[in-house]
Amino acid sequence: MRNVRPYVTGAIALAVAAIIFVMPFVFVALQAVKSKSEASRLDFELPEHWLFWDNLVAVFKARDYQLALAYFNSTLITVVSVTILILLSAMVGYVMQRRKTVWNRVASIALFMGLMMPPAVVPTIGLLQDIGLFKTMTGMILIQVAYNLSFSILLYRSFISTIPRDLDEAALIDGAKPRQIFFRVVLPLLKPVTVTNVVVQSIAIFNDFTNPLYYLPGKENVTVQLTLYNFQSMYTSQYNLLFMNILLVTIPPLIVFIFFNRQIVAGMTAGGVKG
């Protein structure tokens, strides 16, 4: 009796979890491969014909390949902003952890504000307009960097404390200039936390809806999330295409999750633990 218990509880848990957590995704996947009329029934019946590719192509073609453009934009924003973010936050976290300076206090307070305070959107729009970066990809990228710096820097700062200072000093004696100590000794040793950071930030930025909504309106610079949102009003009757769109938007994080499961978990827990 004792040995059966884990299996019974597990089986029940699995069944309940399957219904609650898996069912919505199954629903999405099913509607995405149905024909328009079948999908409008919004049920769990299997499709007569699997229209995966047809729907996929149709969604991509919609509105002059808007989704393709959106994918390109989202990817560009994600890749560039994450790259800048990693570099800048590692640099700051490094000096904050290693050097005793009054600026550390200032930086800590500033970072804490970033974690708590919601960004004031309208003044930011005004500012971006003045600099000429409103509705531009560059502006969006810089905004993503700015809004994610706090978390990233804190992550690096706590991890760098595990790299012994001895290494800095040995490099100094070997003749390394400060920037060489950072790029050739410290940064390579930050790889684990960098991977986690890249994964977590990439998913967050790729999934971001609010910021592109405010700072990147307009057809030329659509992102994937905005496109999906717009599709809702466009495809009131074409549920199959709508869900195919959802599916396409869900895929990248799924792939990342499959490959980087461990790093994501570590990153989220670290971020959570650090608050």
Binding site: M91, T250, L254
Partner: protein, 292 residues
């Protein structure tokens, strides 16, 4: 005294490393956010600003649809935070016990956290359709009349909150799992020897010792709940009417309507709300830690 004749030796940790990040952060985040305090006291259209004192705030606290947004925000934050905390802990306890397919279940529970909020919002909106939605259809076959999840003004906010919890509980679970793992099994063994039941073990050992994780989960989910926008916008756009508006959606709507001062006042109120709730909470928690 000796400073004059010495060339100050540079630290190997250059301060200029702060500069690029400081510029981006300062210009694009700190500056606008701090200047919002000023702009919330104006009526402005991005080019001219007319000082009107606390009028914007008065409006916020008098106009019914704005007040509703305020109240909704609190309800939403507390509801989602509470549910995420309780369910997250329960799930964590389940997923750290010796059940079959534990790892797989953890992955399952966590996956919604990573998925597009808009995608989730649209999916659940469709599923929650009062007549065609799969949820009500299923309930109908079971003989239960399904409510208007998103069409009933009294229910709309809660429906969105439920979806929010569905999406976010995985992260809470993850954090709780880490917190539970930090509790030494020795405590449970000692308690068992002392004759404690499983319930007693949970209330006397687990709950107190998992408190650091609890604080994090509550804090993060409260802040997230107060700032929540994506899901509500995707599912109800603050409707029906404005029954599910929250401060974040109010900010957007006022922005769209061109009332920039009012919109910015919303930002300030949101910040004040977050500070008013989070700061006392962390202080209370820290004091309790020390007191023990």
């Amino acid at each position: 005294m000796t400073e004059t004749r010495r060339r100050s030796r540079k630290s190997p940790y250059p301060l200029w490393f702060f500069i690029p990040a400081a510029i981006i952060y300062g210009v694009l985040f700190l500056f606008p956010t701090i200047s919002s305090l000023w702009f919330s006291l104006t009526r402005w259209d991005l080019s001219t600003a007319e000082f009107i004192g606390l009028e914007n705030f008065q409006q916020f606290f008098s106009e019914p649809f704005l007040v509703k947004g305020l109240v909704n925000t609190l309800i939403y934050a507390v509801t989602t935070s509470g549910l995420k905390t309780v369910c997250g802990l329960m799930l964590a306890v389940l997923l750290t016990s010796n059940i079959f397919a534990r790892g797989f279940l953890r992955t399952l529970v966590f996956f919604p956290v990573l998925v597009s909020t808009i995608g989730i919002g649209i999916t659940f909106t469709v599923m929650m359709h009062p007549t065609k939605g799969i949820i009500n259809v299923t309930l109908k076959t079971l003989g239960i009349p399904g409510p208007g999840w998103l069409t009933n003004p009294a229910l709309a906010l809660f429906s969105v909150a439920l979806v929010d919890v569905w999406k976010g509980v995985g992260l809470a679970t993850l954090i709780f799992i880490a917190g539970l793992a930090a509790i030494s099994p020795d405590y449970y063994e000692a308690a068992r020897i002392d004759g404690a039941t499983r319930l007693q073990q949970f209330s006397r050992i687990t709950l107190p010792l998992v408190r650091p994780a609890t604080v994090i989960v509550v804090t993060l989910s409260l802040i997230g709940g107060l700032r929540s926008f994506d899901l509500i916008w995707a599912m109800t756009r603050g409707g029906p009417g404005f029954s599910s508006d929250v401060i974040a959606s109010v900010i957007y709507k006022q922005y769209q309507a061109g009332f920039y001062g009012l919109s910015t006042a919303g930002n300030v109120i949101l910040f004040a709300l977050i500070a008013a709730i989070i700061l006392p909470f962390t202080l209370w928690f820290n004091r309790r830690e020390v007191g023990e």
